[in-house]
């Protein structure tokens, strides 16, 4: 039952992604690339690229994209419902507790332990995408290094880190560089 699988997978994404945004990425990768054969790492990376350039949370974007590709519009609706269901329940519950006690120090304590862990998980997802860029998805070896990809990555990283460039602009520049360098008659 594909709808139930989609619902349950995105339910887990919604339930365990704390802090939103990039924290959701490793969970989505886990569900749709590793546990279920719904997207290849390549398609997942395209999805993240698309999510960066379109409005809306990564979780909702991914649920819609994966849902439609696996089971059409109903799939998209079921997957999106899955990823917002935990929030609908837990946020209301948390708001109730907060209004009653005006104190969420235990929760904040727990969150302070989750934050460093989430950083590592995002790093893990980032490294798997980086490996795809550097070695074209093949086993890492000097022979299979994609030099254009490697060069773009280094330039993009410096632009973001040192010169605080806008991420969308940086990504577009990388896309344009790949296109131009491949089509140039060298």
């Amino acid at each position: 039952m594909i709808y139930l699988q989609l619902f349950l997978s995105f339910l887990q994404v919604g339930l365990f992604s704390i802090g939103g945004g990039y924290a959701t990425m490793p969970l989505i990768q886990n569900q749709v690339v590793e546990l279920h054969p719904w997207l290849t790492l390549q398609e997942f990376t395209d999805l993240i690229t698309i999510s960066q350039m379109t409005p809306g949370p990564i979780a909702v974007n991914s649920a819609t994209f994966v849902g439609i590709r696996i089971a059409g519009i109903p799939g998209a609706i079921v997957a999106t419902l899955g990823c917002i269901t935990p929030a609908l329940i837990l946020v209301s519950l948390l708001a109730f507790v907060y209004n009653k006690y005006k104190d969420i120090s235990v929760l904040q304590n727990v969150l302070s332990c989750l934050r460093p862990v989430v950083v590592s998980l995002i790093l893990g997802a980032g490294l798997s995408i980086l490996a795809l860029v550097l070695f074209n998805g093949q086993t890492p070896d000097v022979q299979v290094v994609d030099w254009i990809g490697t060069g773009s990555f280094v330039v993009a990283f410096v632009l973001l880190r040192k010169f605080k460039w806008n991420p969308i602009l940086t990504m577009c520049l990388c896309g344009a560089a790949e296109l131009v360098l491949h089509l140039l008659p060298v």
Binding site: I50, T54, P55, P57, S92, V106, T170
Partner: protein, 195 residues
């Protein structure tokens, strides 16, 4: 609350809530905290439905709860303004724009991605995405290192080793960290109560 600047009937308030969240969601790129800023401008400064302190509390709660910050904030704002109906309307307003945009994109994705030029651009952009993610990790990881707390730095290293070296499931790692946090909170409260 000041009644002058706002729609009075319930239907009018729900309609205003729906179109405000729809508009904010459709034009906010970058998600997460950016959307909270736009919500503050609309609901606090313009419509006066929520006061400053309430908005700050909502932002903290939205960030602390599981799930997308934008959806969480919509739940809280909607509930505050018009109860259950308000919550449904605000959540729908928030998720409809990304759902429509991504539906259109996924229908064309197969055709797009097999086009030589599009696939070259997408492939090039992957290098950019990897750089964006690692840039974010450097900033977030830097913040963790700046705490100089052996507990937080230890957790970060342990999570990386578990995830990357031992390939432990990410949900298990998150649950383990949450359990550690609960134990630590209980222990600290116990210590606080005794002293």
């Amino acid at each position: 609350m000041d009644q002058q600047h706002q729609p009075t009937s319930r239907a009018a308030r729900l309609r205003a809530l729906f179109f405000s969240t729809l508009y904010i969601s459709a034009f906010t790129f970058g998600g997460g905290f950016v959307i909270v800023t736009f919500m503050k401008r609309k609901f606090v400064d313009e419509l006066h439905w929520i006061d400053d302190q309430e908005m700050l509390d909502m932002a903290a709660l939205a960030q602390s709860s599981p799930g997308a910050i934008a959806v969480n904030a919509a739940i809280l704002v909607g509930w505050h303004v018009e109860g259950l109906a308000g919550m449904v309307v605000a959540v729908l307003g928030t998720i409809i724009p990304p759902m429509v945009v991504l539906s259109v994109i996924s229908f064309f994705y197969a055709a797009f991605a097999s086009n030589l030029y599009v696939s070259l651009v997408l492939k090039g952009m992957q290098a950019g995405v990897a750089a964006v993610i690692l840039d974010v990790v450097c900033s977030l990881g830097g913040d963790v290192l700046k705490t100089k707390s052996p507990v937080y730095i230890g957790l970060m290293v342990a999570a990386f080793v578990a995830n990357f070296v031992f390939d432990v499931n990410v949900i298990l790692i998150i649950l383990a960290a949450a359990a550690f946090g609960v134990v630590r909170a209980v222990f600290q409260q116990g210590k606080g109560a005794r002293s």
